[in-house]
């Protein structure tokens, strides 16, 4: 029950309190409360726990993390090359 999963906001209903959204979890659409993540807009990714969005997923940061992996890959290849006796 501690599990929190990411999904994409595909519809927002501003008319009810607390504010609700339809969130797509890889094809499964569920109603989620987004009242306490006010910066969340349409098409954003959110982390959802027990029916409530708990934070927005930052796509720019996600890309940054992936860049770190790409750099790590490059440095490991460099290291591997340097270990080959010339």
């Amino acid at each position: 029950m501690c599990l929190a999963i990411p999904g994409k906001v595909i519809e927002i209903d501003e008319t009810i309190q607390p504010k609700m959204a339809k969130v797509n979890f890889d094809g499964i659409i569920k109603s989620v409360c987004i009242e306490w993540t006010p910066e969340v807009g349409l098409h954003d990714y959110v982390i959802v726990h027990a029916g409530f969005a708990i934070n927005k997923l930052d796509e720019e940061e996600a890309m940054e993390t992936l860049k770190i992996f790409a750099e790590m890959e490059a440095s490991l290849q460099e290291e591997a090359r340097s270990m080959i006796p010339s």
Partner: protein, 377 residues
């Protein structure tokens, strides 16, 4: 980008292989290192993906008290059971809680014996049920860490029907790290912080680990690459003797957390010392409903005192030592023999987030011959 926020990248076998190599390289000069995680989902994902097979044998990842169902005090479950037997009263709670053994019986047993217990997915379901049945009394038995507390606080702040009460047994994770340092005689060299609890609190909630204990802590995500990156970052900090709090899950965690949610939690709850089942009383770790909302506090408004004393653990049960990371499930004589998911003896075997349940289902994660990335290293 697909509907899953690039998550496929975080399962990428090549990244896993590279991180595994990088972990071997950074740990070569370190000797044995003991890291602890404090999240049931971390153990579940570590075991399910066979993460331990990508680590050198000197790097131990110990599961800590990260299963909210397992650490829920037996006293609170006894109170919920007592309420379930009250006339015209229904206890609502998350599915995992229903089968957890308490002092005499579980909520499931109570339901079989005439008590009224219903499972809900969310606190919002509890509000809807109470609204649809205005002549019945409902009690939402609330458990969980920071992630769950947001929804409960929001529900209370928005206003709930008069026939709905809250029995609150939620716990706050950061202070238990101090207790774990003590229990393990400071032999833990770093913590992998639960990424989703940290998305609420932010990294600053853990600053005391740097100030008081000079111990590295890394906020860690839940995909295979996230977990290995968390381990790698933690080992790097240990190697460089930098006892800092680092964020290896930046797409979800920041320094200050979800400030709107934190304010909401502060408006509705305060924190007091609280029992963690079989472990101890931990200062500042129990959420309590503030006085101004006492009209919906089940402990204050309803008769929930059980007619028997609490008994945390049945004889021979090692769950409390497993939750503390002192023992592994395989050290318990009952594990897989007299304690199984279909017939659980202790709380760690009940919840899918309990270490014993996870190890029963997936093993410890040391051997996973079917793992997709296994052929790449």
């Amino acid at each position: 980008m697909g509907e899953h926020a690039n998550l496929e990248k975080y399962k990428n076998a090549e990244y896993v292989a590279h991180l595994s190599k990088a972990i071997k390289a950074v740990s070569a000069s370190l000797g044995t290192v003991k890291l602890m995680h404090v999240c049931g989902t971390h153990e579940h994902e570590i075991a399910r993906h066979g993460i331990r097979q990508f680590l050198p044998p000197t790097i131990q990842i110990i599961p800590g008290p990260g299963c909210p169902v397992c650490i829920c005090p037996v006293e609170s479950i006894d109170q919920a059971i007592t309420l379930a037997y009250q006339p015209n009263t229904t206890v609502l709670t998350f599915g995992d809680m229903v089968r957890v053994p308490a002092s005499h019986e579980s909520l499931e047993d109570a339901r079989r014996n005439g008590g009224s217990v219903k499972m809900v997915y969310s606190a919002l379901d509890a509000v809807n049920l109470a609204r649809e049945n205005p002549n019945s009394t409902f009690v939402f038995f609330s458990i969980g860490f920071e992630t769950t507390v947001v929804g409960i606080a929001g529900m209370i702040k928005t206003g709930i029907p008069k026939n709905l009460y809250v029995l609150l047994a939620n716990r706050y994770m950061p202070p238990v790290l101090k207790l774990l340092m003590d229990v393990h005689d400071e032999s833990i060299q770093g913590f992998l912080l639960a990424g989703h609890a940290a998305t609420i609190t932010g990294l600053h909630a853990y600053d005391f680990m740097e100030d008081e204990f000079q111990l590295p802590c890394v906020a860690t995500g839940f995909e295979p690459v996230d977990i290995l990156l968390g381990i790698f970052e933690c080992l790097k900090l240990i190697k460089n003797k930098e006892p800092r709090i680092v964020n290896a899950y930046p797409r979800a965690v920041n320094e200050h957390g979800n400030t709107v949610a934190l304010q909401l939690i502060e408006d509705v709850f305060e924190r007091k010392p609280g029992i963690w089942r079989g472990i101890d009383i931990v200062d500042d770790s129990a959420f309590r409903i503030k006085e101004e909302y006492s009209f919906l506090d089940a402990e204050k408004q309803l008769d929930c005192t059980p007619p028997y004393p609490p008994r945390s653990h049945p004889p021979g049960c090692d769950c409390h030592r497993i939750m503390l990371g002192e023992l592994l499930p395989t050290n318990c004589k009952m594990f897989t023999k007299t304690c199984t998911p279909s017939n659980p003896y202790g709380p760690c075997m009940v919840s899918p987030e309990g270490t014993c349940h996870t190890w029963f289902k997936h093993g410890s994660g040391k051997i996973s011959l079917t793992h997709t990335a296994a052929h790449t290293i």
